[in-house]
Each structure stands twice: as structure tokens, then as C-alpha cells.
């Protein structure tokens, strides 16, 4: 026993699994770090068991709020995870190879966001074992059917896209079968990137379209372009604007925690510039849509602009979303001096991500808070601790996967070169 304990550091030494040319913290420190996601996931497990066993009475959802914090987090992480499909699209299809140093991280973050959202939806649907019903008894008139088809299929695509990075692990890649399979997957990745772009494009749109077709809810209902409401296009635009920002932000946070440079600042600046231009286009479209909605859609529905806002969901939310977390980060990211500054670019990207999250919150919660019948009242919604517990899965699951992936997988090809002693 004593000898075994003495030999423990030797058994715990995992340095042969680290990416070539990199160093990582000691195993015991890493195990301590793992305590954080595992604690969050324990909180999730308790909450999920309560909801699955006792039912939705554990939540503050009711006949008014059929959607709550789970859907807000779900829509937000799916928008923030759009960095995966858009970065892959730019890298593999458009040929923007300058993004290659960050594309693995983008795909991993997308994978985390989508799998986290699917796991959370498993609790949201109440009977996870019947999750396949949506495929077999599909309602082809529902936007959510398209969303479900695309999200699950895109999650499969993301698993395939992340596979070469897993197989490129220093030890796994030494197995000839895995190394060759990984090489062949790399050469055909353009097909998966194209499939991912198609799927992600449509489900981002359909998530927005779902709100835009709510004819009885003037707060969400919008005019149509063809068969698609304007929110279809706005959700796509906001997701592809926020996705690259979120990916870059995650890389920057990892750099600060690990004390290592993972990509050059030039790559981050390019991501910031892409995000800035896309956000500008989105803000022009969103502002025009808001003006049209206030001046034409609302009067046509027989309601006034002021009646759409009640505390705590006052008009300040709209200004916060469009101004502080919309136009401001767009203009910041388009300013070269801001992109050159690590801190300012981070702030601009953070505001972008808050803006898109706020947009999903407003569309989900404020839409449902407003009364639609004369005898109904305005209600506010606050999630219970069990709801927060289930929503926190995305964070716990994301941290766990990202920490393991950072330690063992060659996520950042520039890392060895940038951190030479």
C-alpha cells in the first residue's frame, strides 16, 4: 500500500497525453479545478431529479409562462454557439484560412453549446425517453419541428467535426487506424462544414420564426418576407454576429486563466472585425424592424407601443439591447484601435454576447408576460432554484468538456510556437 502511494505521482502523470510542445498544470491542481464543473453538475442532477420525479410544479412556469429560463438559456447558447458553423463556413468554404488557428476551439464551443442545449431540452420536454416522438410523429406545420430536426442533426455533425481533434491527441494519433481516419476526415471536412452551415442557418432562423408567426401576440408578431417572418432573418444575423465574439471571448478567458497565449492577437482581431461588421448589419436590420413594428405592426394589431412595456420589463430593456449591447459594441468592434486593445475588444465582445442573450430573453419572456385577452393581467416571471439548477447544466457540462479538451487535445495549433521558453 505504502509503495503504491509512493508511486502515485508516477501513475497520475498524464504529460504524455498533453498536446505536443505544450505544458499543463499538475494533475492534482487539475483535479481541484474539475471540482468546479462537477459541483455545478451535482446541482443540476438534484434539480433534474426533482423535476423529473415531482414534475413541473418544481418550476415557476405556468399557463402564462410555457417557456421559462430553460428556453432563454437554450436560445442564447444556440446563438452563441453559432461561432462553430460560421467559423467553419469561413475557413473551409470561403477559404479564410487565417481562422484556422481558432476553428478547433470554435467547433468545440459549438459542440458544448449544442449538446448542453439538447441535454437541457431533455428535461424540458418532461419525458426524455419520448424525445424521439418528435421525429416519428412530426408536426410539419411547426417551426419547432424544423428546429428539432436541425439541432439534433447538427449536433451529430459537430460530433464528427470534433472527432479529428480528438483523434489527433498525442497518444491516440499514434494508433495508425486513428491517425489515418483523422487525416481522411480532415480532407473531407468541407462536406460536413457545408452540411453544418445549412442546418445551423435554418434552425437559427426557425427559432426566430417561431416568435414571428405568433399572430395573437403583437409583441412578437412581425411582417413576412415570403413565407418567413422578419424574426427568421434577424435571429440568423444576430447569431452569426455573436458567435465569433463568444468563441474569441472563451479563448481570451482561457488565456487569462492559464497564463498562456493560445492564438495571435491578429486572429482575435479578425474575429472581432467579422463580428463587428455582422453586428452592424444586424443592428441596421433590427433597428429598421423595430421602427416598422412600432409604426405599422402594432397599430395594425390595435395596440400601442407604450402598452408593450411594463415594469420590470420596461422600455429600458429595449434601449439596453439595441443601444448599449447593440450599436455600441458594433461601433467598438469596427474601430481598429479598440480591436488592438485586448481589454476593450473583450468588453465589446462581452456586450455583443449580452445583447444577443437579452434579445432571446425579451422574445421569450416579455412576449409571454404581456396579456393577450381583456381579462388577463401582466405577469413577471422569476425562475426557481431548480430551474436555475437545470439551466446551469450548460455551464457545468461546458466547463468540464472544455477543461478536458484544453488539457489533452491540440485545440490551439499556435500555442507551442507562442509559448516557447
Amino acid at each position: 500500500m505504502r509503495r503504491w502511494l509512493d508511486d502515485l505521482p508516477k501513475y497520475a502523470d498524464d504529460s504524455s497525453w498533453w498536446p505536443t510542445g505544450t505544458t499543463r498544470c499538475r494533475p492534482e491542481v487539475f483535479l481541484l479545478w474539475l471540482g468546479l464543473p462537477l459541483t455545478i453538475m451535482a446541482y443540476f442532477t438534484v434539480s433534474a431529479l426533482l423535476v423529473l420525479v415531482l414534475g413541473l410544479n418544481q418550476t415557476n412556469m405556468n399557463d402564462y409562462f410555457a417557456f421559462g429560463v430553460w428556453i432563454v438559456v437554450d436560445l442564447a447558447v444556440i446563438a452563441l454557439g453559432a461561432g462553430a458553423f460560421f467559423t467553419s463556413f469561413l475557413n473551409y468554404i470561403v477559404g479564410k484560412t487565417e481562422l484556422k488557428p481558432i476553428v478547433n476551439a470554435a467547433v468545440l464551443i459549438g459542440f458544448i453549446c449544442y449538446t448542453g442545449a439538447i441535454l437541457m431540452l431533455g428535461i424540458d420536454i418532461g419525458q426524455p425517453l419520448r424525445g424521439w416522438f418528435g421525429f416519428w410523429h412530426a408536426n410539419v406545420h411547426s417551426m419547432l419541428t424544423e428546429v428539432m430536426f436541425c439541432i439534433t442533426t447538427y449536433a451529430i455533425v459537430l460530433c464528427i467535426e470534433i472527432l479529428p481533434t480528438v483523434l489527433d491527441n498525442r497518444r491516440i494519433g499514434k494508433v495508425p487506424e486513428f491517425g489515418t481516419f483523422s487525416h481522411n476526415l480532415h480532407t473531407i471536412m468541407i462536406v460536413f462544414a457545408a452540411a453544418g452551415t445549412f442546418l445551423s442557418f435554418f434552425h437559427q432562423g426557425s427559432l426566430g420564426g417561431m416568435f414571428g408567426v405568433l399572430y395573437a401576440r403583437p409583441f412578437a408578431f412581425r411582417g413576412h418576407l415570403g413565407i418567413w417572418p422578419m424574426t427568421f432573418f434577424l435571429f440568423i444575423m444576430s447569431a452569426i454576429a455573436a458567435g465569433p465574439s463568444f468563441t474569441t471571448m472563451c479563448v481570451m478567458i482561457t488565456e487569462k486563466i492559464t497564463g498562456k497565449r493560445l492564438t495571435t492577437h491578429k486572429v482575435k482581431m479578425l474575429m472581432g472585425k467579422i463580428s463587428g461588421w455582422l453586428l452592424l448589419v444586424y443592428m441596421v436590420a433590427k433597428s429598421a424592424d423595430t421602427l416598422y413594428w412600432a409604426h405599422f405592426n402594432l397599430p395594425a394589431a390595435g395596440v400601442t407601443f407604450d402598452s408593450m412595456f411594463h415594469q420590470p420589463y420596461g422600455i429600458w430593456l429595449m434601449w439596453l439591447e439595441l443601444g448599449v449591447c447593440g450599436w455600441l459594441p458594433a461601433l467598438m468592434l469596427l474601430t481598429p484601435r479598440v480591436r488592438e486593445s485586448y481589454g476593450l475588444m473583450f468588453v465589446a465582445m462581452l456586450l455583443t454576447c449580452i445583447g444577443v442573450t437579452l434579445n432571446r430573453f425579451i422574445f421569450t419572456i416579455q412576449t409571454l408576460a404581456l396579456p393577450v385577452l381583456p381579462f388577463e393581467k401582466f405577469y413577471a416571471y422569476l425562475p426557481t432554484w431548480q430551474e436555475w439548477g437545470i439551466a446551469s447544466l450548460v455551464l457545468g457540462h461546458g466547463l468540464l468538456i472544455f477543461m478536458l479538451a484544453y488539457r489533452y487535445l491540440p485545440l490551439f495549433p499556435q500555442e507551442p510556437e507562442l509559448n516557447q521558453q
Binding site: 412530426a138 410539419v140 491517425g179 481522411n184 491540440p410
Partner: protein
């Protein structure tokens, strides 16, 4: 849902929805199958790749 299920209707909604769905699924799994087959053929021919490509 497959066309032989009782809920299936040969209308535009089912054809577009499921046509695209099965189309994408076929492309994704078809490409994955081809990649696996190519890997088997490469290994059969003694062509081995390392991760440093």
C-alpha cells in the same frame, strides 16, 4: 417518420421537411461511411498517416 407510417401524407409539407431531413442525414452518414471505407483501403495498402499533417 417514414412514408409507410399511418401519419404520413404525400403533401408538400411532408415532402419538403422529410426530403431535406433525410437528404442531409444521407449526405452526413454517406460521407462518414466513405471516409471509413477510404481509411480501411488506405490501411490495406499500407498508407498510414500521422496527426501531424
Amino acid at each position: 417518420m417514414l412514408p409507410f407510417a399511418f401519419e404520413w401524407h404525400w403533401d408538400i409539407g411532408h415532402i419538403i421537411f422529410f426530403g431535406l431531413f433525410y437528404g442531409v442525414i444521407s449526405v452526413v452518414f454517406g460521407t462518414l461511411t466513405l471516409t471509413i471505407l477510404k481509411t480501411i483501403l488506405d490501411l490495406w495498402d499500407g498508407v498510414i498517416h500521422s496527426p501531424d499533417h
